[in-house]
């Protein structure tokens, strides 16, 4: 039996836990067993570990430790940020400004609020996948209480002008729009870009550990001091009453270590990912016809490449690549469990056919040049095979 070579190019979905992170968390699964709420030795040992991790996560984003709330992940962080803020701020207005390319969790939260009578403005992103500050300004209303724009998109990696939006919000507040708050989801950007809550000017910011070589099941919400949130999980005093439930100590410790490593190694990781990604795109462009590189070429994260392969659907491509040992992802309808193709690619103004053929390749710190060589070889072959059985490809050929 032959062993399939496995190449993981889906680091935007999740990353492997760094062995140094595993090493840090292991004692908290065994001998360091305390509940941080306990007053005895074990409890205080766990409390100290959680506090240390909180300092590391806070340091990564330029926040104070007591502004960091640990919770189960980015989806919960987005829920606490948006629902928590909106429920508390409802007397001041019921309008949210967001973008058309937010993460599905944010989109779902906004849809749920809309169902409850909130008004949602979803800003366009144009062909480059970037929100315009002028559009945010133009969408502001007297009853706008929240602006939520992600720092970098999870499918195409485009980086949004969140500091400029933050500056504009400061001006608005100074102009008497006092009840206006600003949230950003930095899940994809964390560990890839320097993040500073003061420079961004945000009130709320969502983080997840498993996109930066930490474990799944742990995330954080930065909530600026003084910002009122209605807790979404109640029944305990933990996390300064913002999120009830015994702290996931081993995962929190791991998150702290992952954050520390992400800050220390960001430059090297980015250089490596960018070099591989750029080489990959150069070779794909040369060897495979009829492709579209999605999103802005410069203003994007260094590790993501999103490509639409014309005339074929992403799921068949994904399965074929997987059979050859290459793991990628697609926002295509059939894979994601919906009937609509990727809203992100559609938001770029692309046709449904281009959206259905979009594949995301996301590189990580353990990928190498040999991985790129292999993926290019497999990809060219698989795309050609799928086009051979596509009526769209034949029609396009006949039209030439």
């Amino acid at each position: 039996m032959t062993t399939v070579r496995r190449i993981y190019l889906d680091h935007s979905a999740t990353t492997p836990v760094d062995p140094r992170v595993v090493e840090a968390m292991l004692p908290y699964l065994t001998e360091r067993l305390g509940n941080p709420s306990s007053v005895h030795f074990f409890g205080q040992q766990a409390r100290a570990a959680v506090d240390a991790a909180r300092r590391e996560v806070a340091r990564m984003i330029g926040a104070r430790p007591n502004e960091v709330v640990f919770l189960s992940g980015a989806t919960e962080a987005n829920n606490l940020a948006v629902r928590g803020l909106c429920e508390a701020a409802e007397p001041h207005g019921r309008h949210i400004i967001t973008s058309a390319i937010e993460h599905s969790s944010l989109r779902g939260i906004c849809a749920a609020l809309e169902h409850r009578g909130w008004s949602i403005t979803r800003l366009p992103v144009y062909e480059d996948g970037i929100v315009r500050v002028d559009d945010v300004r133009a969408a502001l209303r007297k009853d706008t209480v929240l602006i939520s724009i992600m720092m970098a998109n999870n499918e195409i990696g485009t980086v949004q002008p969140i500091a400029e939006i933050g500056a504009m919000i400061r001006e608005e507040r100074a102009r008497s729009h006092r009840h206006l708050w600003y949230h950003t989801d930095v899940v994809q950007a964390a560990g890839r870009m320097p993040i500073d809550v003061e420079s961004i000017g945000c009130d709320l910011l969502s983080l997840s550990a498993h996109k930066m070589y930490g474990p799944k099941g742990i995330g954080a919400l930065y909530a600026r001091r003084g910002v009122r949130l209605t807790p979404q999980i109640v029944g305990g005093h933990q996390e300064r009453e913002r999120r009830a439930g015994t702290e996931a100590v081993p995962a929190i410790v791991a998150f702290g270590r992952a954050a520390q490593l992400a800050v220390a190694e960001m430059h090297g990781r980015n250089q490596q990912a960018r070099r591989l990604r750029d080489r990959f795109e150069a070779e794909v462009t040369t060897k495979i016809p009829d492709i579209v590189l999605n999103g802005h070429r410069e203003h994007r994260l260094p590790h993501i490449s999103n490509i639409s392969f014309r005339f074929i659907e992403g799921e068949g491509l994904l399965i074929n690549l997987d059979m050859q040992g290459v793991a990628v992802s697609t926002g295509s309808a059939c894979s994601s469990g919906t009937l609509e193709p990727s809203p992100v690619i559609r938001a770029l103004g692309h046709s449904e056919e281009k959206a259905r053929g979009a594949i995301r390749f996301s590189f990580g710190k353990d990928n190498c040049d040999e991985d790129v060589d292999y993926v290019i070889e497999v990809l060219a072959r698989v795309v050609a095979n799928l086009r051979h059985l596509s009526p769209l490809a034949r029609e396009a050929q006949a039209a030439i």
Binding site: E313, N320, G337, E352, L386, P391, R394, E395
Partner: protein, 130 residues
Amino acid sequence: MAYSETFKDHIANPRRAGYLDDVNAGAEQTNPVCGDRLQLSLRIKEGRIEAARFLAYGCAPTLACGSVLAEMIEGMSCAEAAALTRQEILQILGGLPSRKQHAAALAIEVLRTALEPSSSSLGPPASRPQ
């Protein structure tokens, strides 16, 4: 549910993909919900399907169902082919998740349309090589 090995094999190695030059029956159907397309071309002689080819655009189950269909009907009499059900396609593929079973329905629909007498002298309307 996960896709079976048979399913994956049909995706990696589609059977009877393409278009017949000397086609004398055929049809194309589009799933109105998701936009998947399946095209079938047949060469029928004396009531028997001598050759079958398919082209497909859409999610992986549509591709796999097209491949299974074209492979299984070659050599069948038209009557046998017309009696096929989507369950038989699903069985060969080791089943499909419920929300993807429409692909098997599309395959049966295109087959029955191709076998209708009115389509017997027609090739698939689109995609015929120029």
